[in-house]
């Protein structure tokens, strides 16, 4: 390995960090990606550079090399710096909770089981269907509390309570939707995923049920890398609170 190889490895990381970059045929990105797959030395060099930068290298997909930022590194992604359209002031907390809830719901809706995370099919998400999915689960959770306020507070998280208090849609005076409604959060989350190169708005699949967003391998593969820790985190906390006195929840 020489300095040229190091330059190539760094260039590969540069391409991987750009969500809009794709390894098109005959492109430098494709050439470097092929080398990453076939040349063990080059792959190791790239991994070392990535580790030094605080990046974690994931799978090689047709959309490029998947990278994610270490929690402690300069590339760490959080709700605040993720690019989600969070407002400042009093609405910020609501935005954080609701966008977070929709993100978790997108993952569960598109990939209900681990097998779906391994299958290379790109699921289609329609805003209306996703909204229905979220509300079904939130309502089921709330109904299980039998209307008792203290139990509602204990068993239903703040995010779900905030979500439940929002209207489904809130038309704006000049058309479109105001921000403080469930549909707006769903729409904006899907738009965010599309902007970040994790989904694609597909006109060919849009029909009378509304717009369609096809999630891609980047989202699926990235999600499969972390779903174990996410599940472990929430289940461990769930276990600490003791078993829920209801079936299914």
């Amino acid at each position: 390995m020489n300095l040229t190889d190091a330059g190539g490895a760094a260039q590969l990381l540069r391409y991987a960090l750009d969500p809009g970059e794709r390894p098109r045929p005959d492109s430098d990105y494709r050439r470097l990606l092929e080398r990453f797959r076939l040349d063990t030395g080059f792959a190791e060099l790239t991994r070392h550079i990535a580790e030094g930068l605080g990046l974690y290298l994931g799978a090689v997909t047709p959309l490029g090399l998947l990278v994610s930022g270490d929690v402690d590194g300069p590339f760490a992604v959080t709700l605040d710096n993720s690019g989600l359209p969070l407002r400042s002031g009093a609405s910020r907390l609501q935005d954080r909770r609701c966008f977070g809830l929709v993100l978790v719901a997108v993952a569960a809706y598109a990939y209900p089981t681990g097998a779906d995370l391994v299958a290379t099919t790109n699921p289609t998400v329609r805003p209306e269907a996703l909204l229905r999915f979220i509300n079904t689960h939130v309502d089921t959770l709330v109904e299980a509390c039998d209307g008792a306020d203290d139990e509602l507070d204990a068993q239903v998280g703040e995010a779900a309570r905030m979500w439940r208090d929002l209207p489904a849609v809130l038309p704006a005076e000049r058309g479109g939707l105001k921000r403080d409604c469930q549909r707006s959060y769903v729409n904006r989350t899907l738009e965010y995923l599309a902007d970040q190169g994790r989904a694609r708005r597909d006109a060919a699949l849009a029909d009378e049920r509304g717009e369609a967003y096809a999630l891609n391998d980047r989202f699926r593969s990235g999600l499969s890398e972390v779903c174990e820790t996410v599940a472990f985190g929430v289940l461990a906390a769930d276990g600490d609170h003791g078993p829920h006195p209801r079936s299914g929840y």
Partner: protein, 509 residues
């Protein structure tokens, strides 16, 4: 070959039960087609009775499979939609509402099923002494939306390929070989039309096998965990590789047989078509062979990931039960932590911009650490004097051209002629000054304009007036009246002299 379609016996006991389960699976494959006809179409907002949606569904699968086995390897959703729209249009060209794109979208979306598997429930038969029976869900897909080299692509699953081939529970490679044997037998029996039909089936089988293998290799390239390279795939690949040589050799023999049979003039047209068909199939096999050779790195990567790498727990996770439901009930800290981890995997790394708006404002608007004091302005004694704004050179101003008008009235054209012969450095500038001075004397009387700033020039033009007698200035650079410049006294004297001369002329007359 196909795990979901062809693996038998896991759900039932006994050969009879396995056979029923396999045929039941095949029967279920057409369920999505009837889902379109019976449930989706009546609500789709077009006259669905005029369209043969089942045929469109079958043709959609055909189109995807044929593209999958071709050099292109995949087809985009938009192209599939265009193809189906065209077919729908040809199906009912007289539909005034022109809902062909809608029809095509309905068929494609139903087959894709938003990426979710179609489901069918198989009920086990209980034993005589059992009080309850078991059931199991069989999940399958027909078309899938995947990430291709050139964007999203629609691919066909093995189940769709089975549907495309109109095949039951059959191994595709064995079927291809059997069909070729049948072609040979039919040709030897002189049944060339039947042989041609069988050859076409053999080609379709080859395309199906190629598409199936290509799908598996692409899936593995996309995600090494997606195909079981520990059990199913190596055995299947070994079988296909062993058959490839036989298939290509069999194609060669078939071509020779057809060429020999084609010497008979009656059979020649059919034989030519058989040869063309066999060649098409042969190309598919050769492409498949090349693709297998190219798949070695994919195979190695899958080996590394699946055989030597640690097995992930992701497969065992139910995201609804294990993530969504606990998250909805979780306290704020746990919820935030879960969302943060999800974002770390699902969102791209955060790349800090070199300059963001906040940072830029902080730098621009921050209080200076060292106060900047401007350098003191020191007056230069020389600058206290007024500067001649006209900046007329001394030699130009010193020229006594205008001053000569004070002695006797002089025409502007004469003064300009004197200026050109005065010998000053900038003749053109001198002419401008003379011309401007003459005009100033013409306009200054009534207006009371300010005198020139240079004292010598102001003195020269003081007391002068200009008279326009109608003569036009004949100059290239200047236009206007050729005024006569002089003192008022000089003009009066000139007038008196002129009147006296007029009087003496009249007396003599």
């Amino acid at each position: 070959m196909t795990e979901s379609v062809l693996v038998q016996g896991s759900a039932t006991t006994g050969d009879g039960g396995r056979d029923v389960y396999a045929r039941w699976q095949t029967l279920q494959l057409v369920a999505p087609v009837f889902e379109v006809i019976n449930r989706a179409a009546p609500r789709a907002g077009f006259d669905h009775t005029r369209y043969d949606l089942a045929q469109l569904a079958l043709r959609a699968i055909d189109f995807v499979v044929v593209n999958q086995a071709s050099l292109d390897g995949s087809v985009s959703p938009a192209r599939a939609l265009d193809h189906l729209s065209l077919l729908a249009r040809r199906m009912t060209p007289d539909d005034g509402d022109r809902p062909w794109t809608k029809v095509a979208g309905l068929v494609l979306n139903t087959l894709l099923n938003d990426g979710r598997p179609h489901e069918a429930t198989w009920c086990e038969l209980a034993n005589d002494d059992a009080r309850w029976s078991d059931s199991r869900t069989w999940r399958y897909r027909l078309l899938r939306l995947v990430d291709g080299d050139d964007g999203p692509a629609v691919t066909a699953t093995d189940e769709a390929i089975v549907l495309y081939l109109q095949a039951l529970n059959t191994d595709l490679a064995d079927r291809a070989m059997a069909l070729k044997l049948l072609v040979e037998i039919q040709m030897q029996a002189g049944e060339f039309e039947k042989a041609l039909s069988t050859a076409r089936q053999a080609t379709r089988t080859a395309q199906g096998l190629s598409a199936s293998l290509r799908d598996k290799l692409d899936d593995t390239a996309r995600d090494v965990r997606s195909v079981d390279w520990r059990g199913e795939m190596p055995a299947w690949l070994t079988s296909v590789l062993a058959q490839l040589g036989e298939q290509i050799e069999r194609d060669r023999q078939l071509k020779e047989l057809a060429e020999r049979a084609g010497e008979n003039s009656d059979a020649a047209p059919a034989c030519r078509r058989i040869i063309a068909e066999v060649r098409t199939g042969e190309e598919v096999w050769l492409r498949l062979e090349r693709r297998l050779q190219q798949a070695v790195p994919v195979f190695l990567a899958a080996q590394e990931a699946q055989r030597f790498g640690p097995g992930g727990l992701a497969l065992a996770i139910d995201l609804i039960a294990d993530v969504l439901r606990p998250a909805l009930g979780a306290c704020t800290g746990v919820f935030d932590d879960a969302v943060g981890r999800l974002l770390a995997g699902g969102a791209p790394p955060h790349v800090r911009p070199q300059w963001d708006l906040d940072g830029l404002c902080k730098v621009v608007l921050r209080a200076p650490v060292v106060r900047e004091v401007a350098a003191p302005v020191i007056d230069d004694p020389g600058e206290l004097l007024d500067v001649e704004s006209e900046s007329i050179p001394d030699d130009v101003a010193a020229a006594a051209i205008v001053r000569s008008a004070a002695q006797a009235p002089t025409r502007l054209s004469a003064m300009l002629a004197d200026a050109r012969t005065s010998g000053v450095g900038d003749v053109r500038r001198l002419c401008d000054v003379v011309w401007a001075a003459a005009l100033w004397t013409y306009v200054s009387g009534a207006e009371g304009d300010e005198a020139p700033r240079r004292a010598d020039l102001a003195a020269a033009v003081t007391g002068l007036v200009a008279v326009d007698d109608g003569t036009v200035l004949a100059e290239q650079r200047y236009r206007g009246a050729d005024v006569v410049v002089g003192t008022p006294l000089a003009f009066e004297l000139a007038d008196v002299a002129a009147e006296a001369a007029e009087g003496s002329r009249a007396g003599s007359v």
